[in-house]
Symmetry: C2
Subunit: 141 residues, 2 copies
DNA sequence: AATAAATACTACAAAAAGGTAGTAATATAT
DNA sequence: ATATATTACTACCTTTTTGTAGTATTTATT
């Protein structure tokens, strides 16, 4: 759950794309806007495409667009997709000592903490972020 | 906020120590109980001592004990001590693009999610975990 | 005093994450 | 057709995190 920079980058990219109104975003453009290392950014963009968040178009005038509606992409989904999600037999936040039928001493606390965070993140979609951004723009006028 | 194994180990160790009633815990004993790599565990234990959570006693029959009351150690404190805490000018969960007076699009969402999690973690002390453990033991009888 | 059981320190090795380089493939504009 | 602007793929390099090894130091037991 935001353990690495890759996830941070991904959210930054998606949040940026969601809040603007371009029809196409090239890697180069995103690089200049967001200051994420060129090559790394590209790899991440193809990754996000493979995961179904974006659609890519090759060739001149190519770039990336969303592959689904902004309402369908919530922040928790992005994080879980990129960081993996082994809910099976461990505490999600990392307690490998902790198995479902023999929960460790921290289990309940973690689960409570985690689920409160998860609630907020899964209830926020890219559409919400876009709306917020537009509202902020209006307020500034 | 639980970005690495080291923090996980630390919480496992402290949680374990808090829940049992030994007067002294040697690195070797903890290693056998918790399956944390011997040498790494040792280094971590000295680290936890340097940070004031534990007190170490060298020599035969030496080991580690808590340096403060269990009530004084909450989970958020442990996590922040081990992972560093640059609240100054960035979103705590990682948005380096986001500065205080020019918050990024995700800022509010993050802060809300984060603070809900933080609330639970900072309200849980090692004393609470100990109590929970004892209660669980009683229930099993 | 010698031994054994412990921690402390320093340096190194391995694995994972983050980042870079080169080249191929694709598609548009001219 | 050719040049140009773009994504895609593969391999490599760097940094950080995790884990190991060797040796020194401390202290209770005998």
């Amino acid at each position: 759950m935001i353990r690495n920079k890759t996830t941070e980058y991904a959210l930054t990219i998606l949040g940026f794309m969601a809040s603007r109104n371009e029809d196409m975003y090239s890697a180069e453009y995103l690089h200049k806007q967001l200051n994420i290392p060129r090559r790394y950014l590209r790899r991440l963009l193809t990754d996000l495409s493979k995961h179904g968040f974006l659609k890519s178009t090759s060739g001149r005038n190519g770039g990336f667009v969303f592959a689904k509606d902004l309402e369908e992409i919530n922040l928790a989904l992005v994080i879980n997709t990129l960081e993996g999600y082994e809910t099976l037999c461990t505490c999600i936040l990392g307690f490998s000592c902790c198995i479902v039928d023999k929960p460790c001493i921290m289990h309940d606390t973690w689960m409570e903490a985690r689920s409160k965070m998860f609630e907020v993140l899964s209830n926020t979609t890219l559409a919400d972020l876009k709306e917020k951004y537009q509202m902020d723009l209006i307020k500034k006028l």
